[in-house]
Symmetry: C2
Subunit: 407 residues, 2 copies
C-alpha cells in the first residue's frame, strides 16, 4: 500500500518531500519497501492522530528547518485510489497558498450511507474549486448519513492541508521545544486526541475540496478482499459450497474451507483470523488483546520468522527462528548474556564472525554461539538463510549488546 | 476414542481378546495409547471393510490358531456410546452360540431419518431378544428413511457377530493360504468391497439384536463437537458474534473467530480446516487431495512435529523438527546417506551415541551428525526434546539404515 501511494504521489508531479509518520516497529520494514527516498518519523508510543501529526510537524520545523509558510499535506498511507485523488491534493495545496482558509480538507463523494466515516457538511457553493465547511458529523447512524448525503455532505477521508506555522502554533500550546529530539522524548506530554477533534473542529475557517473518483479505505478485510484478483492466496483450497469467501495463507499448513459465505480467513505467523467480512471492521479491539511476541519481522538486513516457541514442563524454553539476510547486508556485531544460539545454514553463503575471527559459511554448516560471545554475520549471496535455535533464560529480544564490525 | 472403547469392553466383562485392524501408519500411535494389551493387525494398503475383516479373521485363524467355532465380534472403534451397547454385544455373541443365524448384527434405534446410515428392516417379532432380518437398505433419501423408520427399521451400526469358520469359508473363496504372513503379503488379491455387500447382504440367515441407548458416530466434526464441553480448545478466542462455533487449535498461532454460525475450525500441523458443521460429512474427498508429508507423528519412542519445511530459490531444502523422546525410550541406531542433522537439546537429558561413542547430553547441548555416521539417542529424564535441522538432498524419511545399539 505504501509503495503504491508513494508511486502515485511521484506520478502526479506533486514535487513533494514525503515524511512518513509511523510506529517505531515499522521503521525497518518501511526502509525495505521504500529505500531512503522518504523521511521517517517514528512515534515512541502509540497515542492518537494529533500527537502523531504534531511530532511530524515538529520534525519539519525543528529538524528540517522548514519555514512557517510551507504547505503541509497530511494523508493516510492506505487509500486505494486513482491519480485524480493526488490531483485534488494539488488543488488543496493551491487553496492554502491562496489562504482561502486556515485548514483545507478533502471531501470524498459518498457512494453509500456508511456509518463508519466522518461527514463534512459544506456551506453554499461559491463557484470555486473549494466550498466552505459548515460543520462536521462523526460516524452518524445510517439514517442520519442518508440525510447528510441529501445535503451534499462529503466523507472526511483524512486528507488535510495547512501552513506549517498554523499547526506549530497549536503544537506550542502543549509543548515549547527547541529540538525535534526533545519533542520526541517528551511525546507522552501530548494529549491522546484525534486531529479531527483537536484541530479540524476548532479551526476558525475550513474549506473542502471535493473528490468524486474511485476511493477505498483498505483498512478492513472486507474492503481489501474486494480488490483481490483471486479467492485464495497461498496454500488454500475452497470447497464447492463456498460463496464470496477469501483465504490469505502465509503459513506452510494447507487450509481447506467449505460451507461458508462472505467469510475471510487470514493466516500468518502472528495468528489466524476467521471472520465474517461484515464483522472485520470490529476485530481490532479483540485482536489487540491477543498477547503474543511478533512472529515475523522485517529488518533492514532481511527478515525473520519464529517457527517454534515452546516452554517445557521443566521450565526450559526454546525459541527457533528461520532468519534470512539479503546480499551485502549484515547483522550488527552483538552478544547476549542469557542465551546460546545454534545457527545451521540452510541456503546461500556468507561471512561469520565469532570473537573477532572470521570464516566463510555455507548451507550445511553449523556454528554454536555461547552466551557472552561476540558474533555477526553478513550475506555474500542473493540471500543467506539459517535456522537459529535459542536456549537459555530469558529468551527475549532485549538481551542484546550491539557494536559494529569492520567488514 | 480407542482408549474409551477398549475400557468399555473391559468394564462390561465381555472377556474378549481384542484385535485392532488398522492402517500400518497407525501402529505406533495405538501401542502408545493402549500398550501391549491388544493385538494389532495392520493392512498393507487401504482397500475396504471386507478385505480388512478378512485379514483380521485370517490372523485369528492362522496366527492365533483359533477354532472355527469361536465367536468373533466386529465393531468400529469410534462409537460414542454407553455400556448397554457392550451388553448388547454380549447378547449378540449368545445368539451366535445358539446358532439363531449365521450372521448377527446390532440394530440401533434411529433417532431421526438420517440419510447417512444403512437401514436394517426386521421381519416379524418372534418374542426373542433378536429379530430376523428381512432386508437392508443402504443410505436412503430422508423420505425413504422416514418410511423405513415407520416399519421399525434400525440403523446398521456396523457391529457384526459370527463364528470364525463362517467368515473363513468366505475368505477362502478369494485366497487359500497356509499362513497369516502369506495372506498379508497377498492382501491386494482381495476385492475392494465392503463387508455389508460381500457378507451381510449375501448371508442365508441374518438376525438383528436391537440397541436403543445413547449412540453417536463421532466420525464427523459435526457429531464430535456436540460432545465437547468447551467451545475452544487451545489458543483460540471467539468474538461476540459467534453462534454454535467450535475451535480446536493444536498450533502455537492464536486463532480469532467472529461473525460466524455453526462453524468448526480445526488447526493442527497437518492443516487448517474451516467448515460449516453440516458440510463436515463431505470433506474427506477434498482433504485426501491435499498432498502433504505428515507434520506430526507418534512413534513407539515419542513423537515429532515438523516446524519448518522449506525449499529455497537455489534448490536447497531444509526440514526442521521438534522431537520428543519418552523416558527410557530410544531411537534405533541409524544413519542417513543424503543428509546432515544438527540436534540442539532444549529440554531434559539423555545418552547420545555417535559412531560407537556415547556421551551424556542435556538442554543447551548441540551435536552435529554428518551423513553416513551412525547415531542413536535415549532419554534418561521424563522427556527429552531436541530441535533437529536437516540439510541435504533428498530429505525423506526413507533415507535411513537402522540397526540396534546395546544400551
Amino acid at each position: 500500500m505504501v509503495q503504491r501511494v508513494v508511486r502515485q504521489v511521484r506520478d502526479t508531479n506533486l514535487e513533494a518531500d514525503i515524511t512518513l509518520a509511523t510506529n517505531a516497529s515499522q521503521h525497518d520494514i518501511i526502509i525495505n519497501q521504500l529505500g531512503e527516498e522518504v523521511s521517517i518519523v517514528t512515534e515512541p508510543e502509540r497515542r492518537d492522530t494529533f500527537p502523531a501529526i504534531a511530532l511530524a510537524a515538529s520534525y519539519l520545523k525543528l529538524h528540517k528547518q522548514c519555514s512557517d509558510d510551507e504547505v503541509v499535506i497530511i494523508m493516510p498511507c492506505d487509500p486505494y485510489t486513482e491519480n485524480g485523488y493526488f490531483e485534488t491534493i494539488g488543488k488543496m495545496a493551491k487553496c492554502v497558498e491562496k489562504d482561502v482558509a486556515e485548514l483545507v480538507l478533502m471531501g470524498i463523494t459518498p457512494t453509500y450511507p456508511s456509518a463508519k466515516y466522518g461527514y463534512v457538511v459544506p456551506g453554499a457553493d461559491n463557484g470555486n474549486e473549494w466550498l466552505p465547511v459548515a460543520r462536521f458529523t462523526e460516524k452518524p447512524t445510517v439514517d442520519v448519513a442518508e440525510q447528510l448525503i441529501a445535503q451534499n455532505a462529503f466523507w472526511n477521508g483524512g486528507v488535510f492541508a495547512f501552513r506549517l506555522g498554523y499547526i506549530m502554533n497549536i503544537v506550542r500550546k502543549y509543548m515549547l521545544s527547541e529540538s525535534f529530539e526533545d519533542t520526541r522524548s517528551r511525546y507522552g506530554e501530548f494529549p491522546k486526541i484525534s486531529f479531527d477533534y483537536e484541530v479540524a473542529e476548532k479551526a476558525q475557517s475550513v474549506a473542502v475540496v471535493p473528490f468524486s473518483g474511485q476511493w477505498k479505505d483498505l483498512g478492513t478485510w472486507n474492503t481489501l478482499t474486494d480488490e483481490l484478483h483471486h479467492h485464495t492466496i497461498g496454500n488454500a483450497t475452497l470447497g464447492p459450497k463456498c460463496e464470496n469467501t477469501h483465504v490469505i495463507n502465509e503459513l506452510q499448513y494447507p487450509i481447506f474451507v467449505d460451507g461458508v459465505k462472505d467469510l475471510v480467513v487470514s493466516a500468518c505467523p502472528d495468528g489466524i483470523l476467521v471472520c465474517a467480512k461484515k464483522e472485520t471492521e470490529n476485530i481490532k479491539k479483540y485482536v489487540e488483546k491477543l498477547e503474543h511476541r511478533p512472529m515475523y519481522e522485517e529488518r533492514r538486513w532481511g527478515s525473520y520468522r519464529v517457527i517454534d516457541d515452546t516452554t517445557y514442563e521443566d521450565g526450559s524454553h526454546s525459541l527457533t527462528k528461520s532468519i534470512t539476510l539479503l546480499e551485502g547486508k549484515n547483522i550488527s556485531y552483538q552478544k547476549h548474556y542469557h542465551r546460546n544460539e545454534v545457527w545451521t545454514f540452510v541456503e546461500g553463503e556468507g561471512i561469520f564472525v565469532l570473537d573477532g575471527v572470521t570464516r566463510n559459511v555455507k548451507a550445511g554448516d553449523t556454528v554454536v554461539i555461547l552466551a557472552e560471545h561476540w558474533h555477526a554475520i553478513k550475506a555474500t549471496t542473493k540471500t543467506l538463510t539459517f535456522i537459529e535455535v535459542q536456549t537459555g533464560n530469558p529468551l527475549v529480544e532485549e538481551d542484546i549488546v550491539r557494536t559494529t564490525w569492520d567488514w
